[in-house]
Symmetry: none
Subunit: 208 residues, 4 copies
DNA sequence: GATGAATGAGGTTTCATTCAT
DNA sequence: AATGAATGAAACCTCATTCAT
C-alpha cells in the first residue's frame, strides 16, 4: 500500500491501489445494505458490516467516517439508480399506455437487487434523523408527478402531486412485498398490487 | 398470598392489581407509544419512556419485564382494537357497497388514536425479531380476506387472500400518510389512496 | 404486636396473631434456606424468597429488616441445632469408641434436613461480609476440640484444635456430598469419608 | 481480513491477536481471579475487575464477552494446570509409597499460585449454573481414580472411584485452608489434613 | 492503508428496600 | 399487619468511534 511514499510517479503506482479501494468500498456498501436490510438501521452494527465485507472495522472507517455517512452513501447510490430509472420512464412516458406505465413504475423498485429492503429501511429509519426529511422521497414524488403529467397533459399539477404520493406507496409496497420472507402467495399478492395500480392509472389518467 | 401466581413469565406484561397500578400501566403504554412512534423501536429508550410517563425506571420494569414485552403489549392492545374494528366491518360487509367497504377499511387504521404510527413502527421493526412473524398481520389479512369473501361470494379464496394483502397495504399506507409530519398535500394524497382502493374493490368484487 | 394500641386485654387477643406470625416466620425461613441453597447468597432474591413462602415482599420485610438479617437468623437457627448436637456428643464423648465418635460427628451435619446446603452456602458467602468472621465456625471448632479432648485426655490442646479443623472439614464435606445432585456413587463416597474419619480418629486419639 | 473467523461465539473468550492484547488478557485474568477470590462470583463486578487490571470496561468485554465467559476461561486455565499436575503424578504413581502419594496429591492444589481460592469459589458458585455440572471436577475425580488404581492394581474400580471423591475433598480442603485469612494454626491444621490423607491411603491401598 | 485493541457514554435490566393503601 | 407498587443505585453489556502499531 504505502510502497512509494516520496516518489512522484504516482499515477501508475496508485492505480492498483485505487482499484483495491474501489473493490473495498463496493464490498462494504454491499455488506452494509445486507445488514441494514436484515437488522434495521439502529440494530445494524459497524462491526458486523465490516466483518461481512471481510474487512476490519478500521478499514470501514477509513472509507466512511461514520455510520450516518455510510447510510447516506447507500441512500445516494440508490437515489442514483432510482433516478436513472425514473428518467428512463420519463423519456418514454408519453408513449406508454397507462397499464404499461403502471408496470414500469412498479417494476422499478422491485427490480432493484436484494438491497431493496435496505433502501426502505433507511428511508424510514432516518426520516427524523436527517435535517431535510428525505430529499430522496420528495425527488421521487416530483419525478413521478412529472411522469404522470407528461402522460396526461390535462392533469392539474396538484392532482398529479397527490397521485404521485399514492403511486409511490404502491411502488414501495411492491418492493417490500417482493422480499417478504414467508408469504406463500407472494406472486399473487404482487399481481394484485399491479392490477390495482393499473386500474388507478387507467382511471386517473384518462383524458377527461 | 403469593404476588404473581399467574404471570411469572418474564416475557409478558404483569397485570397491575391495584387502581394505582392500572393508572401507571396506562400512562406507561401511552408514553411508550409516543416514544416508539417518534424514535422507532431501537432508538427509543426505556429511560425516556419511563420519564415521559412520570414514572421511575423501576416502575416501568415492574409491569413490563423487558422492552420487548412492552412492545408486545402495545401491539396486543392495538390488535384488540383493530380486530374489533374488523369484526364490525365483517358484520356489515354483505350490506355495504364496494366503495363504502373501501372507505370503512381505510378509515379503520386512520381512525386509531394518535399512537397510530407506533403500531406501524413496531409492526415493521419487530418483524424479524419475533418468532411467529407478526401474527397480527396474518390475522388482519385473514380477516380482510373473509370480509372480501362475504362481500363477493363468488370470489375464489386464493384470490381473496391475495387481494387482502393488497388492501392491507393501502390501509397501512393511509395510516402512515395521515400522520406524516410535513406533507403539505396530506389530504389530497389520502383522497387518492381512498379513490384507488375504491376503484380496486369495485372492479375486483364485481360479480363476474 | 401492635394489634391493639390502647386496649389492655392483650394476652388472649394477641395469641392467634402471634401464632400466625410464628408460622409466617417459619415459612419464610424455610423458603429462604431453600432459595439460598439453590442460588447462593448473592443470587437469591428477597422477592423469590417471599414468593416461595407464599408471602408478599412487604411481609418478608416486616419480619426481617434486611437480607443480611435474614441470613443471620438462618445461621443462628442452624448454630442452635448444631450446638445442641455437639452438646449431645460432648455428653457421651468419653463413653464412645473412636469409630462411633467419628460416625456421630459425620452424621451431625448430614442429618440436618434439606437446609444443609444453605448453611454451607451462607457459611462461605458471608465470610468476608460479617465483621467477626464466622463465629459459628470457630464455635464449632472449639466444641469439636473439646470433644476430642474429652475422648482422649492426653491430647495436647493445640493438637486437639488442629484436629478439630480437620474433622470439621470432613463433616462439611460429608454434608455437601450428601446433597450433591448427580453423583451416581454418592453412598459409596460417603462411606469412604466416614471410613477416613474413623481411621483418623482411631489413630489420632489412641492413647500414646 | 475478517477479524474473528474462528470465534464469534459470544460465550467463549476471544483470543488476542497482538502482543498488546496478550498482555491485556493476562492482566485481566489475574485481576479477575483476585476479585473472584475476594468477593465470590456474584459479588464480583466486571467494573472492578477491569479497573484492577488497569483496563476499561470495554477492553474487558473485548476479550471476554460475558462474566460467565470470564469465569469459564479462568476455570479452563486452572483445569489445564491441574490436569498437568495430575498427569505428572499419574506417571509416577506406581513408584510412590502411599504416604508420598498422599502428599503429592495434597500439594497439587495447595501449590497453585495465589489464585487458588478463585478456582474453588468458581467451582462451587457456578455448579448449578453450568450445563455440564463441572466437567473439571469429574475429570479430576477420574484422574485421581486412575492414579489410585495404578498404585493399587487390585482395587476394584468402583472403590477407586469412591475413594477418589474422598481424596479430592481433602485436596480442596487443604487448598482452602492454606489461604484462609485469620487462622492462627493454619500449618498445624494442614498437617492434620495431610496426616489423615496418608493414613487413609495407606490403609485403603494396602494389598489385601 | 490496514488492523485490531482501547475507550466510555449510555442502554437495558435487577433488586434491596421503602411507602402508601 | 399485609399487600403490592415505587424507587433508584448499580450491575451487565453494547457499540460508535478513535488510536497505536
Amino acid at each position: 500500500m504505502s510502497s512509494q511514499k516520496s516518489t512522484a510517479d504516482a499515477t501508475t503506482a496508485r492505480s492498483p491501489q485505487r482499484e483495491r479501494g474501489r473493490l473495498r468500498v463496493a464490498a462494504l456498501m454491499k455488506a452494509a445494505s445486507l445488514v441494514f436490510a436484515e437488522k434495521g438501521y439502529e440494530a445494524a452494527t459497524m462491526t458486523e458490516i465490516a466483518a461481512r465485507a471481510g474487512a476490519s472495522i478500521g478499514s470501514l472507517y477509513q472509507f466512511f467516517p461514520s455510520k450516518e455517512a455510510l447510510a447516506d452513501a447507500l441512500l445516494a447510490q440508490y437515489a442514483e439508480q432510482v433516478e436513472a430509472g425514473l428518467g428512463a420512464i420519463t423519456a418514454g412516458a408519453a408513449a406508454l399506455a397507462a397499464p404499461d406505465l403502471a408496470d414500469a413504475l412498479i417494476d422499478l423498485l422491485v427490480g432493484l437487487k436484494d438491497e431493496r429492503r435496505a433502501v426502505m429501511v433507511l428511508f424510514e429509519a432516518r426520516r427524523e434523523a436527517t435535517a431535510p426529511p428525505s430529499e430522496l422521497r420528495d425527488a421521487m414524488r416530483r419525478a413521478i408527478a412529472r411522469i404522470l403529467a407528461l402522460h396526461a397533459p390535462g392533469l392539474p399539477p396538484p392532482r398529479a402531486a397527490a397521485m404521485a404520493v399514492a403511486v409511490l406507496q404502491q411502488m414501495k409496497a411492491a418492493a417490500l412485498l417482493s422480499v417478504e420472507p414467508d408469504l406463500e402467495s407472494r406472486d399473487e399478492a404482487l399481481a394484485e398490487l399491479r392490477r390495482m395500480t393499473r386500474l388507478y392509472l387507467a382511471a386517473g389518467l384518462a383524458p377527461a
